[in-house]
């Protein structure tokens, strides 16, 4: 795994955080809505960065045999599925981040969840997340089908 490959996107995230922090330093000049907007930008970008590094280090650990994915029943957001709890949590968070629509439509059916949104990756980090989803199949009994408008998770029959 090469972190340097993501340098451009990481720079962009860092810039956004820096610019946000600079703006908040002079918060008297900002309206309450602007302060809220900047705070949300910081929060969202922090979430993305944290998730990126979490996934990145998890893959590194798995590759070095430092982490063994478990295969058990997991309950996330009232949905019961089969796989590794940590990986499943990352999968759900990635789907939320990749989604470009304000609303993400989730349709749970037996052994299957269909996420409907807009999932086209727009930068290297988002592409990394898509690759992570594809890799997640290897570490669990999960089947993941990804298109630009739909992500389908299915399990149990493999």
């Amino acid at each position: 795994m090469e972190l340097g490959k993501y340098k451009h996107d990481l720079n962009s995230f860092i810039f956004k955080m820096e610019a946000s922090a600079q703006l908040l330093q002079d918060s008297e000049a900002l309206s309450p809505d602007e302060i809220k907007l900047i705070s949300e930008i910081i929060l969202n970008n922090t979430k993305v960065l944290k998730l990126f590094f979490d996934c990145f280090s998890l893959i590194e650990r798995i590759e070095k045999n430092g982490y063994t994915p478990k295969k058990k029943k997991v309950v996330i957001e009232n949905i019961t599925l089969f796989g590794d709890p940590k990986i499943m949590e990352y999968v759900f968070n990635i789907i939320k981040i990749l989604n470009k629509n304000p609303a993400l439509i989730v349709e749970p059916v037996k052994d299957k969840i269909i996420f409907q949104g807009k999932f086209k990756p727009e930068n290297q980090i988002e592409q990394f997340f898509v690759d992570f989803l594809k890799k997640a199949i290897l570490f669990s009994k999960l089947q993941i089908d990804i298109t630009e408008d739909e992500i389908v998770l299915s399990w149990g029959k493999k």
Binding site: K16, A19, Q22, L30
Partner: protein, 442 residues
Amino acid sequence: MGKKIIIIDDDRDILDLMRIRLKSYGYNIFTESSPIEALDRIQKYQFDLILLDQLMPELSGLEFIDLLKKRNIKTPVVLMTAYGSLEDAVLAMKKGAFHYITKPINFEELKIIIDQALELSDLKKELTELRSLLYKEIVAESSQMKKILETAKKIAPFDTTVLITGESGTGKEMIANFIHNNSLRKDKPFVAINCGAIPSDLLESELFGYKKGAFTGANTDKKGLIEEAEGGTLFLDEIGDLPIDLQVKLLRVLQEKEIKPVGSNKSKKINVRFITATNRDLKKMVEEGKFREDLYYRINVIPIHIPPLRERKEDIIPLARFFIKRFCSKYGIPQKKLSDNVKNKLLRYEFKGNVRELENIIERAVLTTEGEQIEDIPINVSKRYNFSSDLKPFKKAKEEFEKNYLETLLTYTRRNISKASKVAGITRAQIYRMIKKYGIEA
């Protein structure tokens, strides 16, 4: 109001952060995450600067610059490129971008670049306005004016004399200037003199200059206007007002290409092109013995007649729009539009003072209208057809009315015959018949 800047970036966070930051510098910020939609917006509304991201999924910044060029949009562009992609930045500048800035953006640096770009943009705008004032853009939508400009352009390179005729305010000096600017003499002076505005006893010394001591008050030698125009063009307006004795002297200048300043015995060779103009009937003046026949033929090598504005109604609205633009820029007020009512009124008005009168009307309207639209103009339009002072036979007057009405109708309906038929309440066939009868361009 701050300068209008549009930021185009597919990253909405960047757009929000830049908007907040740049707004604090006093700019008026607009954002767009889709370059395709941004392009439409830029074409519809005037922006002072475009801040453009290079890496976008729909269209790259470089491709966007190409499209701006194709659409003849000259708003300055600052390209935002990723750190290290200097090649893109150089290419963007070759394509006409004003500057580039690398991401992550240093806002202080960006502000300097924005201010420089805006300053340059202001200077360019000013230059264009000054040029248009200097070269006096000619608005010509009517076939008559287009033909005149065509002739003027054709004869411009040749040093022949030109006589421009037409009512006051039709733009005779502008045509003379147009000829000069399209001639080989364009880098030399264009000197204009109104022969009717200078007392006849002063006119000779004004035209030919004088030697020191030629008359009381002549303390030094003074060049005349003919000499001032050396290498260029001398425009003699209202040539019909030139006194007979000066007509003789002017004829000699035209024939011999030399002048003799007042009080001098020596002649001086000159290299000047003469363009003359009048609103009088010179031929009639020749017949009445008020204008020398030999001079008339000498100045009338190429005659150009400019029809009055009421006979070329297609020019009225474009001219009005041109003056609105010019006066709004001159007085620094937002651009205005003409309401349909005003357009209609202008098309029905007689404009005895021609383009000059229209110019004055529009200047007044621009200064007195508060909103974006000019809803009314201070002119009185007679609801009936205005007869000229001589009462004409009914048939002739009717024909004149029909022709005039048809021209106005076609201009108003933009030559849409169906619409014209509806507005006039007559059949399309009747309109076609009248078009044929009066030889009007359909």
